[in-house]
Each structure stands twice: as structure tokens, then as C-alpha cells.
């Protein structure tokens, strides 16, 4: 997932992007006129997969918000006399090694997923937009320095980089969010920068400049709105990736604390019982898959809606 966004977003660390490479799909600035939101929405709604994705994402959000109302039991409640129970009327999805209700833990798990997914990508976008805008705006030395810094963080494989940061910060939700953002922002800033560079040469910007608009005005009025579309599509797409990364970290035992109901934690506990108590990993897996698909479909739909020629 993470490899995907990274490498498709921008293949190289430098220039060769001139080729007609659909590979660079998500990197290519989706030059959508801001006035076309209606049309974009129309195209999005016409995309069945995207709508399906939206339904999944909304379901996830609702589950997260209303978890205490939906969950049949306290996700922390242990019942050592009823460990590893197969799914039954009492425990629809069974109980784990400490006798906790799996359905409740999956429901509560959506909270961490939403929290980490949204927060880390929001943070990444915030850093990325600022750095990208600065690099694109000032160009020259500033650009070189910022982009080299971006290269440094880009060069870390996401999970590995995140683990290093978490080692330094300690486990927990906040470290996970920060560590994921720290290695995700370069993609955003590259996206924005290349978008700015290409938009800067666009006719309407030349026109604005010819009419005497200042550079900052051009950036704020013309360049950012046109570049932000690409960032948004990336963001929607990447939330799914961030959720996978977060679950991966917990799966490896470096994410959130193990007693916290979280999908990666559940899988980490379940793998000891592979082939013996398969329901322990099957249901959390389904939750993750549906969540990721939801965000991917929304992201794809958004990208296509923003720039139909990329379909």
C-alpha cells in the first residue's frame, strides 16, 4: 500500500517526468478548475465503485463515532473462564485469548483506525503543502534544500522509518500518527511542488501575471486551488494506506499498546492460533480490508472525477 503510493506518485528522485508516463498518474497535477466542483461531484456520483467506497467509509465513521452504543460489550472486559470461545449467540464473533468479546473489539478498533488514518494524513498534508508551497514559491536554493530534505524522508521505507521514530518516542497512538506523517509528507510536497511548477507555466497564470498580479496572489488565487485537488485525491487514497501501516506496526508489536482494541493488535494475538482458532484473524482482517477498499475507492473516484482523462 505504502509502496504503491510512494512509487506511483513519483518514480524518481529527480527530473525525468517529461515522458508520457501514465505511471505518474497521481503525480500529474489534476488541473481541475475550481469552478467545476459541480461537475466533479457529478462525475464522482456516477462512479459506482466510488459511491460504494463512500458508503464503506461512512459506515466506518459511524461505527467509530457510535462504538459505545453499537458494541455489545466492554472491549476490555476479560473473562478468563471463557477464553477462545468460538462464535456463538453470546459472542457473535467469539472471544480472544483473554475472553474478550471480539465483535466489541473490532467495533472499537475502528476508532483507532479512523483516528490514526485521518490524523496522520492530515498532518502529512499540512507539512507537505507548506514545504511544497515554499519550495515551489521560492524555487532555487530553497527548493533544492527542501527537496533534498524531502528526499531523505522519502528514502525511508514507511514502516521501517516509522518504527525508528516510534522507538525514539515510545509506543502509543500519538507516536504512530507522528511517525507515519513524518515519512508521508514528502509525497505531498513533491505533488504540490510539481503541480505548482507546471501550473506556474499555465496560460491563465501568465495571463494573471501579465495583468499585474503579484506572485503571492498568483500562488494563493490560482496555483494552490488548482494543486490542492491533486493533494485531496492523494489524501483520500492514502488514508487507507495509513490505516494499513498503523495496523502493520501494531501487528509487529510496535504500534499502540496491546490491550487497546485495535485491528493489528488483534491479528498479532490471533496468529498464535492460526489453523486452530481462525475466526480470531479472519474478522479483524475483513474489517481492515473493507476499510482500506473504502478509502481506495473513494480516492480513485476522486482522482478520476478531478481529472477524467486519467481514467
Amino acid at each position: 500500500m505504502t509502496e504503491l503510493t510512494k512509487s506511483t506518485a513519483d518514480a524518481g528522485t529527480a527530473e525525468p517526468a517529461a515522458a508520457p508516463a501514465p505511471a505518474a498518474a497521481s503525480a500529474e497535477p489534476a488541473v481541475a478548475r475550481v469552478t467545476q466542483w459541480g461537475e466533479i461531484r457529478h462525475r464522482f456520483v456516477a462512479n459506482k465503485l466510488a459511491v460504494f467506497g463512500l458508503v464503506l467509509v461512512l459506515a466506518l465513521f459511524l461505527t467509530a463515532i457510535f462504538a459505545p452504543l453499537i458494541a455489545p460489550q466492554d472491549p476490555y472486559h476479560q473473562d478468563l473462564t471463557n477464553t477462545l470461545q468460538d462464535p456463538s449467540g453470546e459472542h457473535l464473533l467469539g472471544t480472544d485469548a483473554l475472553g474478550r468479546d471480539q465483535l466489541s473489539r473490532i467495533i472499537y478498533g475502528s476508532r483507532i483506525a479512523v483516528e490514526v488514518g485521518l490524523a496522520s494524513i492530515f498532518l502529512a498534508c499540512a507539512i507537505g503543502v507548506v514545504v511544497g508551497a515554499l519550495a515551489g514559491y521560492f524555487g532555487k536554493a530553497t527548493d533544492s534544500v527542501l527537496m533534498r530534505v524531502a528526499d531523505v524522508f522519502f528514502a525511508f521505507p514507511l514502516i521501517i522509518g516509522a518504527i525508528v521514530i516510534i522507538m525514539a518516542m515510545g509506543r502509543g497512538v500519538m507516536p504512530v500518527i507522528i511517525s507515519l506523517a513524518v515519512f508521508s509528507w514528502p509525497t505531498v510536497s513533491r505533488l504540490l511542488r510539481s503541480s505548482i511548477l507546471s501550473v506556474r507555466e499555465a496560460d491563465y497564470v501568465h495571463a494573471a501575471r501579465a495583468l499585474g498580479a503579484s506572485t503571492s496572489r498568483i500562488i494563493i488565487r490560482h496555483i494552490i486551488p488548482n494543486s490542492i485537488a491533486a493533494v485531496m485525491a492523494y489524501a483520500a487514497f492514502s488514508v487507507g494506506g495509513a490505516i494499513v501501516a498503523e495496523a502493520s506496526l501494531s501487528f509487529l508489536g510496535v504500534g499502540v499498546s496491546p490491550e487497546v482494541p485495535e485491528w493489528g493488535n488483534m491479528l498479532a494475538g490471533a496468529k498464535d492460533f492460526l489453523g486452530v482458532k481462525d475466526f480470531l484473524w479472519v474478522y479483524p482482517s475483513i474489517a481492515i480490508v473493507l476499510t482500506v477498499l473504502g478509502f481506495v475507492f473513494v480516492g480513485d473516484g476522486l482522482r478520476d472525477a478531478l481529472d477524467p482523462k486519467l481514467r
Binding site: 478468563l80 483473554l98 509506543r171 508489536g253 496491546p258 498479532a268
Partner: protein, 546 residues
């Protein structure tokens, strides 16, 4: 040290269950070599050179490559090996060992008193930075040698070829028992200094087996019978030790055993009940409570656990039985003492009265008395990636349920965990375990509970010793000193028992949880006399093929 790194009583991070997947036929030509080939798996040892062999894997190899002054039976009884006799001065400070004459290292060098002086000096040398050298700390001159002030071991002397004299800086009537540790093994001249990489990977020893080729790191170690062994020779022709991935060694061993590629195996904890059902009837199931303890470090000097009552409240609140059944599926046994049942002379079942049975009422009462009010924040640390995640959650929940404490689980990787435990400010609980290095009560009580084992670093205040709960009671320390200086074994045992009762029962300096119970599979269909030794390894030197 053993058991620590591999934490083998609960399998490592990734344990994959097996549904009896016997894959491929095993290597059955074992019997072709005269005496048979015994095959087993271990994780990569830290070292097999006795100067730094430490955990169970390393000592398995070192014990079979080297024979020292004494051997030990699983019940802790000493058996003389190279030591034909030992005499102790009345003050307990001078030990004189008569070394059996005429035995040789496998390269022909004689095993004499000089070989011990050479070996021990090599170990204690500053440059060796041996992790196990501290076992020699009681010997005179250790300080100077270990700090680099001297290059001679003042307290160790070869009086003549067959007489070894050891001077201790304090009385110790159980020094002989310490020498069962491989760090006390003799080495030949070719060993050279500790950084002799060639010797590190292919030690030449005087044991029942010798290396066939060098240690192939992360692949295998092969031992062959030493036909010139100075004692009763081994019956096995060869021992093939496959080095497995540390991530799930027990699963691999179990799988290997089922497939017939290993003759000895550990099992992943979730598989134990099934494995027992399958192999116990075939008489291939080996089970023993060994010389170790799983316990909770309670930080004695910081609130909220800075009173015996508070620690007792915690101990009473834990339902060991329920966790043993629910989480460990009956494969762990609650402990009610620190000293293990394998030390028959000092074992006191139930000495920790709070450990015997969960008592909610008493727990609440004691908590109330000691100010451990509901809502009190209690840190509960553990090291991650070693399979502790599940049961610590169960303990934490019981403390929440019974005492209404706000338990904060704090999982950390090994090194961080250790550094946090050492910290002077750390409070609350920390999971821990201890395995004996040699069969003495002192090896539990002194490191875990003596004031001297806090060994505070004057600069940082960190506890450098193993008594990280910082239990400190002069009366206890005095009992230990007395015991060490008591020549009579029975009287000594009584003193140790008294000390344990004081520290563990009266003052609850730490909180015992479960015994160290070990399970193995042994291929009794092909081999006779397969047993688990004191170090939880197979008794290779005594096994014979059918």
C-alpha cells in the same frame, strides 16, 4: 542468564500453530554412524566459548565441549568430575581442589591446574568483557584483573599440576556449586585471548564431545564424540544442532520433531495441550519444574508499593490459578515461593502466603490499610516481543477489578525495559523471571533481594544489579551472610529458608507468579535415557541409541 534471552517458556513473537503438518520424511540414516546421531534445534547462541557462553543454547554446546570441576544433576546434586576432592578452610575462604590426573584436551594438551588458572584469568580479564565473568567476583583479585589493574588472577593458583587453590574474598561454603557453570571450565593454551575468533567459533575442549568443523553461524553446529574423553565416554556418535530462526524457534522445533527431523523439541505455548495429548501416551513427553521463577518486581522504595501491605494487596488480588488455566491453558503452575521445588533442601511450598490463593477481601483490606486506594495509578511494565502481552493484560485486569487501581501497561523492548527498571524513580510493577545459574539458594536470594545487588550507580542512581525492586533489609542481608559462612549444609539451608520467609512472605519484597515449568518432546522411540538436565537441555553425554 539462561532462559533469559530466549525467553523460552513462552514462545517468541511470531508463533504459528501447526495442524500436524508433517512435511517431508526425516533423515532416518541416523543410526548408520555407530552410536547414532541425535538431532535438535536451537537458536543462535551468543557464544559457545566458555568465556562468554551464557544462555541455555550456548551452555548446551559448552557443557558438552568442556568438563569442569563438577557436574550437576537435575535435582541440583553435585557430581565430582575433574575435582577428585575439595577441601575448604574453616573460614570458608580458601578452597583446594585436587584435579584428576592424566586427562587431555582434544588437541592433546593436558588438563591440569594450570588450565584452570589460564581459563579463569582469561575470563576475568578486562579486555574479555565477559558477560559471565561476574560469577567469579567472589574470588580474590577479581577486581584488579577485571578493572585492568592487573593481568594476573591473584586468588587462583596452581599449587602443582594437580592442585588448584582458590582464595575467596568472603566466606562461601557453596563455591564448589558455582563451578558447574561453564565459565569455570578449563581451556588449553591454544585458546589464547578471548577475542581469538578462531577459537570462539571452534573451541577445543576436554568434554564428551568435540566440534566437527567450526560453528556455522545461523546454520548449524555439529558435535562428534570425543573418543579420548577422560571420563565415561558418550554413546552418541554425533549431535547435529540446527540453528533456527529466533523468531519462532519452538514452532520450528515442534514441527521438526513431528516431521522426524529432530529428536528433541520445545513447543509453542498454544500447542502444549494438544502436544501433550498426542505425545504423553507415547512416553515422549518430558516435563519438569526447573530452577527458575516468574515473578513481579515490586518497586519497594517508591509509592504506591513502598509498603509490605501494598505489595501483599497486589499479590492477594491476583488469581494465579485462573490465569494459569485461562491464559496458559493449564500449562503454567502458580508459584508460592521464590526458591524452586528442584532445590529440595530449601524449597518451602506456600512460604508466600499471599500467593496461595486469590483473596479479594484481604487484598482490599490491605490496600485500604496501605493507602492503595481505588483509582491509584499503578505502572505495570513488561518487555515486548517475548509473548508476555497476553497474561500481563490479564493480571492488570484483575488488579483493576479487585482493587480498582488504574493500571497502566507499559510495554518496552528489552533494553529500554531494563533501563527503566534500573531507574531510581520507577514505581509500580514490572514482570520478570529468574533462572538459576547454579544450584544454590543464594543464586536466587542474593541477586534478587539483597541490598548488595542493588549496586546503585553513584552517578545516575540506576540499579546496576539484579535487585531492581530495591528490596533492602539489613536483617535479610545478615541472614544471607550467615548462611554463606555456615559450613553445615542443613544449618545453611535453614538460614536460607528463614531469609526467604522474611523477604518474600513477611515483607513481600517481590511477588512470585508461576513456577518455571518446562516441556520437551524426546524421541524415546530411537533413544534411551533421554532426560532434561539442570540447564533444561538434553543430557547428550548419557543418551544412547536403541
Amino acid at each position: 542468564m539462561r532462559g533469559a534471552k530466549s525467553a523460552k517458556w513462552v514462545a517468541g513473537a511470531i508463533v504459528v500453530a501447526l495442524a500436524a503438518t508433517a512435511c517431508g520424511g526425516g533423515n532416518d540414516k541416523g543410526d548408520s554412524a555407530k552410536g547414532g546421531v541425535f538431532r535438535m534445534g536451537i537458536t543462535e547462541p551468543t557464544a559457545i566459548d566458555p568465556f562468554n557462553a551464557q544462555e541455555s543454547e550456548g551452555s548446551l554446546v559448552a557443557h558438552n565441549l568442556f568438563t569442569g570441576l563438577y557436574k550437576v544433576e537435575p535435582n541440583g546434586k553435585l557430581i565430582p568430575a575433574l575435582a577428585e576432592s575439595a577441601t575448604t578452610s574453616d573460614d570458608g575462604k580458601t578452597w583446594t581442589f585436587k584435579i584428576k590426573a592424566g586427562t587431555k584436551f582434544s588437541n592433546g594438551e593436558p588438563v591440569d591446574a594450570e588450565a584452570f588458572v589460564r581459563a579463569w584469568t582469561r575470563v576475568a580479564d578486562k579486555k574479555s568483557a565477559s558477560d559471565v565473568a561476574y560469577h567469579m567476583a567472589g574470588i580474590e583479585g577479581y577486581e584488579d584483573l577485571n578493572s585492568g589493574k592487573s593481568d594476573k588472577f591473584a586468588g587462583v593458583k596452581a599449587v602443582d599440576a594437580n592442585t588448584l587453590e582458590v582464595k575467596l574474598s568472603a566466606a562461601d561454603f557453596e563455591f564448589d556449586k558455582k563451578t558447574v557453570h561453564t565459565v569455570f571450565a578449563p581451556v588449553p593454551k591454544v585458546a589464547g585471548a578471548a577475542d581469538n575468533k578462531a577459537y570462539n567459533d571452534q573451541p577445543i575442549g576436554n568434554g564428551p564431545f568435540k566440534m566437527e568443523g567450526a560453528w556455522e553461524h545461523n546454520k548449524k553446529i555439529t558435535l562428534v564424540r570425543n573418543d579420548d574423553y577422560g571420563f565415561e565416554k558418550a554413546k552418541l556418535a554425533k549431535v547435529e544442532i540446527t540453528i533456527l530462526n529466533p523468531n519462532n524457534t519452538s514452532t520450528l522445533e515442534y514441527q521438526g520433531f513431528q516431521a522426524g527431523t529432530f529428536d528433541w523439541a520445545r513447543m509453542p505455548t498454544p500447542q502444549l495441550p494438544v502436544a501433550k495429548q498426542k505425545y504423553a501416551p507415547k512416553n515422549q513427553w518430558v516435563e519438569a519444574d526447573t530452577s527458575g521463577i516468574n515473578y513481579l518486581v515490586a518497586f519497594n522504595q517508591n509509592a504506591p508499593l513502598n509498603s509490605p501491605d501494598a505489595r501483599k494487596a497486589i499479590s492477594y488480588a491476583i488469581d494465579r490459578e485462573a490465569i494459569a488455566k485461562g491464559v496458559f491453558q493449564g500449562m503454567q503452575k502458580p508459584a508460592s515461593s521464590v526458591l524452586p521445588p528442584s532445590f529440595a533442601d530449601v524449597y518451602q511450598e506456600g512460604v508466600c502466603t499471599t500467593c496461595v490463593k486469590q483473596d479479594v477481601a484481604k487484598a482490599k483490606e490491605l490496600a485500604e490499610k496501605s493507602g492503595l486506594k481505588p483509582g491509584t495509578v499503578l505502572d505495570f511494565g513488561y518487555n515486548t516481543g517475548s509473548g508476555h502481552e497476553e497474561w500481563v493484560q490479564a493480571v492488570a485486569q484483575q488488579l483493576k477489578d479487585v482493587l480498582g487501581l488504574e493500571v497502566k501497561l507499559n510495554g518496552k523492548p528489552f533494553k529500554e525495559a531494563l533501563s527503566e527498571q534500573k531507574d531510581k524513580k520507577t514505581a509500580g510493577l514490572w514482570r520478570s523471571a529468574w533462572g538459576a545459574d547454579y544450584p544454590t539458594a543464594d543464586n536466587f536470594l542474593f541477586p534478587l533481594l539483597a541490598t548488595g545487588s542493588i549496586n546503585e550507580d553513584p552517578a545516575t542512581g540506576a540499579a546496576q544489579g539484579d535487585n531492581r525492586g530495591r528490596y533492602s533489609n539489613p536483617e535479610f542481608d545478615k541472614l544471607l551472610d550467615q548462611a554463606r559462612a555456615t559450613k553445615d549444609a542443613a544449618a545453611r539451608a535453614a538460614l536460607y529458608k528463614q531469609a526467604e520467609k522474611l523477604a518474600v512472605d513477611t515483607e513481600q519484597g517481590l511477588i512470585p507468579l508461576w513456577k518455571r515449568t518446562q516441556y520437551r518432546l524426546a524421541n524415546t522411540a530411537k533413544f534411551d535415557n533421554v532426560k532434561m538436565d539442570f540447564f533444561e537441555d538434553p543430557n547428550l553425554a548419557e543418551i544412547s541409541a536403541k
